[in-house]
Symmetry: C2
Subunit: 420 residues, 2 copies
């Protein structure tokens, strides 16, 4: 069978299963999630032996050790996957809720009922835990999921899928609700992304290359973010100690993630006081500073480099920070608009009006006052889970939890109304 | 300048204007909407003389008279456009609202604030009133709009745009907030649909050909519906008189629109009583019947044709109705799933459980009980307006009003929280 035919059949089965899934009660879905957690724990030895095949192949290929580490299903990773499923089971089920109804002059009662999207396709790279996390969230939201992981994790992913599907069958949920694409040919992704009659949403998770590949080749709607160029802006009315704390936390607490601060903006009125303090603290945290000429002068002996234009656009994902002194609040906002990626921005200020203006003016997906950019995360913001982050404004904007995996249909209760 | 460069500049200006628009208060936007209404009324003579150029060209080309009629800016159409703008001014402004905030264990206060999408591109066909309606809704929701109408209406659209832009400038809103594409070259649409850095959403309005062209060529998210194959299902527990009324209203009240009923499904237990009644009423309303063998027998002398498989997939947009007797509720739902287009379905029943099951099981964008499919419309459902209808589940599903032209960003009030 051709890959095109194979993917079409797989997606068609996912669609059929999704009709059944959409009508399941929470209790049934939660029982399956708990069975999945138990299944993973019980099959630990088998999982680890299959995973070892992936790890050995990766080592033979000479993959970087960080990459190989991401592949590994250690005891800890397996325990976390099971725990994650149990947490998803404990979350409230968004499906079926109607937040209110309004009555039309002709007596029609109109409301919006939350329903699953249908079929979600996740395209991701090496971490096999995504297989379990994404499957759990999609199931809870009532969606079928098509999982297409990286070729480096294929043995692990297939072993995980088998366990997940077995748990589904115990709960009498069609096993087509969770499918892992067996072929590692990239053509399979291209075929899946054409099937708009079956697939309702595609979510790519991984590096910018993978995300662009999916976005550029998809006929199906895509939820994505290319990169996170997040800003911390220390205003002229900032508590400077808080500014130091949030700049260091934003950059250095975990520099390799998308919500880490990449550029620090400082109002010129406080630069003189603030730059030496924050420069010292950042250097102590091991951060390389790439700074504008005004900031450079104020740093004096503290080691730094000159920032290039490219540095302001950069997602360093490393212990590197661009720093710029700006003339005004408006200049800070203009910098964010020009160089930012609509991900997350925070202002440090004690001024009420400035804080409100920042919240209203900045149109990024997460806009914070006096909090670290690192809180831009589905768990930290209280969504209970995160399937991905969107920096395009359609459907979901920012961290996306269970609700983002659903939509709303209109429902109407009438008593015979016809249009005049 | 190449078309690509021209469209990129136009869209870039729209993006710049959108940043200003996003911060406008409702009062400013409403004043501009009222000025636009007045401007259109005052410029009636000029509008009609420009419109006459389009009408003359269309007649010379030999366009069908129904098409030429759609082009005409009659006194009535001009009055309706002005009235439409005044109604949009009177609608509540969705921008800036925060429906609630929750507090995290660390004290962070988290909420979601509604904000404009940014830049919306509307691609449409002959009716010049879309220029005004879409511009009004996009402005109210705080978006810049790029309007690309059909070449047959270019003089009318450019004349309207000039009036709308003049009204903007009086309110000190950048005139780039409303732009009509001046070239009628189709290449312009292709270029606009590539500009994901500037354009946040594309909405095609017109025939299936136009919609497929936009959907297949867009890098920008698209909100669309290809067709409306709406069903009226008369259940075994239906009030049969109500069934007749809703079947006739659904099909015949205005057959050429997407929410007209295209297929009538009848439970076999009531077919014997119901088919002759509804058949007679539908024939009196001038409806051609294309029916299944069971229905055919029951119709007897009442004129009808045999339905083909294709008839069940068809959006007739005419006084033609497919009619099928089904064995059960489940068969009715299966028919809707197989042949439907996720637009609008209604059940006629007096049975409480059956009504609830229909509302829960059918996943179309509008699911009604005891009401005509013709109510599937932004105004009728109480949205106050309609920019389009979506039958894909991402972002908006069903009729889309002002809220569909916005999104939500996360806002956080902190007092110095850093991640541990």
């Amino acid at each position: 069978m051709s890959i095109a035919a194979e993917m079409s059949q797989l997606a068609g089965r996912a669609k059929t299963a999704s009709r059944k899934l959409a009508t399941l009660r929470s209790g049934t879905k939660n029982a399956a999630l708990l069975a999945m957690a138990e299944g993973i724990e019980k099959a630990k030895a088998h999982l680890q032996s299959e995973n070892q095949k992936d790890v050995a192949a990766a080592e033979q290929k000479g993959l970087a050790s960080a990459m190989v580490d991401r592949l590994r299903l250690t005891d800890k990773v397996i325990a976390q996957m099971a725990q994650g499923l149990r947490e998803v089971a404990a979350l409230p089920d968004p499906v079926g809720s109607v937040s209110g109804m309004w009555v039309r002059p002709n007596g029609l009662k109109v409301g919006k009922m939350r329903i699953p999207l249908g079929v979600v396709c996740i395209v991701y790279e090496s971490r096999p835990n995504v297989t379990v996390d994404a499957a759990g969230l999609c199931l809870k939201a009532g969606n079928s999921v098509i999982l297409r992981g990286g070729s480096e994790a294929i043995y692990s992913n297939l072993a995980l899928a088998e366990i997940l599907q077995k748990a589904l069958s115990v709960s009498q949920i069609p096993s087509d609700a969770i499918q892992v694409v067996q072929t590692t040919d990239r053509q399979a992704v291209l075929e899946l992304l054409k099937l708009e009659q079956y697939v309702d949403l595609a979510i790519p998770r991984g590096g910018e290359g993978l995300i662009r590949f999916v976005a550029e080749n998809s006929r199906v709607p895509v939820i994505k973010h290319y990169k996170g160029v997040c800003h911390t802006y220390v205003d002229k009315d900032a508590d400077l100690e808080m500014g130091v704390k949030l700049a260091v936390n934003g950059k250095a607490q975990r520099p390799g993630v998308c919500n880490a601060t990449e550029t620090l903006l400082i109002h010129k009125d406080v630069s003189k006081d603030f730059v030496p303090k924050v420069g010292k603290a950042l250097r102590e945290a091991g951060v390389e500073l790439r700074v504008c000429p005004v900031t450079a002068k104020l740093l004096g002996e503290i080691p730094h480099k000159a920032a290039t234009e490219d540095d302001y656009y950069a997602e360093f994902l490393d212990l590197i920070l661009a720093v710029r002194t700006v003339d005004s609040f408006d200049d800070a906002v203009a910098h964010i608009q020009k160089y930012g990626s609509d991900h997350t921005e925070t202002i440090v200020t004690q001024n009420y009006s400035t804080a409100q203006r920042f919240l209203e003016t900045v149109t990024s997906s997460c806009v914070f006052v006096n909090a670290s950019t690192r809180f831009s995360d589905g768990f930290e913001l209280g969504l209970g889970a995160e399937i991905g982050i969107s920096t395009s404004k359609i459907h979901a904007y920012g961290p996306m939890g269970l609700e983002g995996l659903t939509t709303e249909k209109f429902i109407v209760y009438g008593d015979g109304q016809a249009r005049g």
